[in-house]
Subunit: 243 residues, 2 copies
């Protein structure tokens, strides 16, 4: 039995997120499983590196599946890309050792969040960024990023209740015209954690919130101390790392 | 009477192009005129710098219109952006001298054409670029660009029949990963001229056509000597220049 790893790009706009929900045809996992199952004439389940939110995107989601199919991988990729909707693209298919598991073996992830920081909205970026027209203090946000990096209990930034200690290795902010590109690299992120850190960073940048409030969120571990959860549409899963 | 100049951005995907067609609600000009007319309670016609093709986009289309409205320009811009579909954005409104005419006074235009040059398509760029998976010889295309720049009769690159002499000031090619960004700057371009030059450049880049064929197109002035007219979806009107 072959174990095949796939790297997947998707425009999440039309979907309820990565994870299959019953028979719903509105998830990325569901779409790919349907085509794979038809193609191989067996029921195939794929394992993703983790969920992505409804409306969030991916440049480099990873998943794997097992199959007895004799089809070569290039033919398989072409077949998948021909029958998948055009907003889901299989970028790579490679055979991996049988023990490889897309979720258990993750060592880190890289996400991007895009903010359109101009008074006037953008006709092009509106589905791929969050329109936040307030003037932002970039230095303050950089300092806030430094406070977030490292090993902390991120309970205050999430709606989860246990096992909330995580390490963030890097947060960077780059400006491309009106578009601000925030990158987050870490071993893993809690549910809504990036979107809540983003809301907090933007409130700090626009002066609605003090830099110190980050320490208070870490200390209190209370979700309501943190900023708003910004919309999923600016969020991209860029890369999944394995050892 | 005030003369107001507007700078407009649009995602052309859903439209039949810039120019109003009868009562059709499927053109950018028509959409803007409808909102402006409702807003001022008078019939307003706007003059654009020129047409853009069905499916082509704009970062910087220019148009002007005359009005007796006393509304200040910031309020007017906000009103327009609130009631226009989100894929059309008014970036700027400025009052200009009464004699200013968006079409007659154009001194040049800048267009971009984007090519997605990788075997696998892109989930994000598919509406904003032309997927051309052939391996391209960049040096050959650069040389071909040099041949196109300058004052020539571009009849062979267009479907028009008269007044086909134009000057191109600059063509540049930049690579951003798999995305090739072609920029064209010149006093003006004939109908389909950029899309036909692009088809010709790509055929030269992929080795299907010789560099010399550009001289042959200029000499013969025969449209069928030139390359394919590539799709509008990669084409952006970036900027319109006035003296």
């Amino acid at each position: 039995m072959k174990n095949i790893k796939m790297i997947i790009e998707y425009d999440g706009r039309r979907y309820l997120g990565w994870q299959r929900l019953g028979d719903s045809d509105k998830t990325i996992q569901g779409k790919i499983e349907n085509i794979l199952s038809e193609m191989t004439d067996t029921k195939i389940e794929i394992v993703g590196s983790g969920r992505t939110d409804a409306g969030a995107h991916a440049n480099g989601q990873v998943a794997n599946f097992k199959t007895n199919s004799e089809m070569d991988l290039l033919t398989m990729r072409n077949h998948l890309n021909r029958y998948l909707p055009q907003d889901i693209v299989i970028k790579e298919l490679v055979e991996v050792p049988e023990r490889f598991h897309s979720r258990y073996h993750v060592s880190g992830k890289k996400y991007s969040y895009y903010v359109w920081n101009e008074l006037v909205p953008s006709a092009f970026e509106r589905h791929y960024s969050y329109h936040y027209p307030e003037k932002l203090n970039h230095e303050k946000m950089q300092e806030a990023c430094k406070k977030l990096v490292g090993r902390h209990d991120f309970l205050g930034f999430s709606s989860l209740k246990k096992s909330t200690i995580r390490t963030i290795d890097e947060i960077s902010i780059r400006q491309e015209g009106a578009l601000l590109h925030f990158t987050f690299i870490g071993e893993g992120f809690l549910h809504h954690m990036i979107r809540t850190m983003m809301g907090t960073l933007l409130e700090i940048g626009s002066g609605y919130r003090e830099l110190d409030s980050i320490d208070m969120i870490f200390d209190s571990k209370i979700r309501s101390m943190a900023g708003e959860t910004v919309p999923a549409q600016g969020l991209f899963l860029d890369e999944v790392y394995y050892k």
